[in-house]
Symmetry: C2
Subunit: 196 residues, 2 copies
């Protein structure tokens, strides 16, 4: 068994390909991106992409799962550091706002891409693990009496809907100022809508 070359870190080529894919997928979309495009941007050969991934779809899936995993670990970190639903949900919105500014493409691909069209079999975003965790936060807030009793889906949509909508506006270039500047205002509105 030969090891990967020593002058490149293991997994580095995979990472280059995934980063290039993220860039192209968010810029032009999955279907407007050819595999040779990905090879050129990642500065590797077409054959190398097929050595590391089963096919084009497999690249998109690896990218998607990796981003979802990162998001889920952020949520776990928030759950560990905040006890109340208010604290947790506010931290979630703050995290989403900061991620939108610091990793614009990642947020675009996670929240805005139509995965069903190129990743058949994956569940829709709003029934993915991160979104379920966010609903858990809301449910626990209702159990603790912080949040008015109501349908959990409606409560979650009300609490996070405004922030998520602002994020898509920002990604579309309709919003000029950085999102974190609006955090206080957005959170006040969001919490008012469902607070007990």
């Amino acid at each position: 068994m030969a090891r990967p070359p020593a002058n490149v870190a293991p997994g580095q080529i995979r990472e280059q390909i995934i980063v290039a894919a993220l860039h192209l997928f968010t810029q032009r979309g999955y279907f407007n991106t050819s595999v040779p495009d990905m090879a050129r941007t990642a500065q590797v050969s077409v054959g190398s992409i097929y050595h590391h991934f089963k096919d084009k779809e497999d690249v998109a899936r690896a990218l998607y799962l990796s981003l979802m995993e990162g998001m889920q670990s952020e949520l776990a970190h928030i759950a560990a550091n905040h006890a109340t639903a208010a604290g947790r949900c506010r931290a979630v919105i703050a995290m989403l706002f900061e991620l939108t500014e610091s990793s614009r493409e990642a947020m675009d691909f996670m929240l805005y891409a139509k995965h069903r069209e190129f990743l058949p079999g994956e569940r829709p975003v709003c029934s993915s693990q991160p979104f379920e965790t966010m609903r858990d936060f809301v449910q626990q807030g209702m159990d603790r009496g912080e949040i008015r009793r109501m349908d959990v889906m409606v409560a979650s949509a009300s609490l996070f809907g405004g922030a998520l909508r602002l994020i898509t506006a920002r990604l579309d270039g309709v919003l000029a100022e950085p999102l974190p500047d609006q955090l206080e205002l957005v959170w006040e509105c969001a919490w008012r809508s469902i607070a007990a």
Copy 2:
């Protein structure tokens, strides 16, 4: 001058093609739909599609503009029948909820499709005319003292974000009950978030 055959209404073929396109685009997506697919579903020939439309993109654009026009006229109707911002915005959410149930595919294509990927040159949804009209309703509500003074974009996102998020949940099949059943609850949350 030859007229179209009398046994088919004028513009009926165009309509068949657009309806088929809406069905296929929402079901499989624009790029997973071939022109022969559209011809088969619309029960016309490929050549006929190219007789009525410049190209595949032109079909999508005609569909998009037609749906946007319908939405805009709904908003005009609401503006004419309601004086207050609260009345208007509540009517908007009610209308969106009803449209989601009665014209699921139309709502899916209008709100959920990534038009930028196949309709270059069209403005993003959230800066389209209907969305601007909705922001106007909010702005006027602030001028009238119904809504707290704040950034209009944030206020609009807070007011409509929850409803729009619930609509995508419904379109993704995550929500079981018809949306209009939740109207009262959703509106109460939405209005609380920004009411003066």
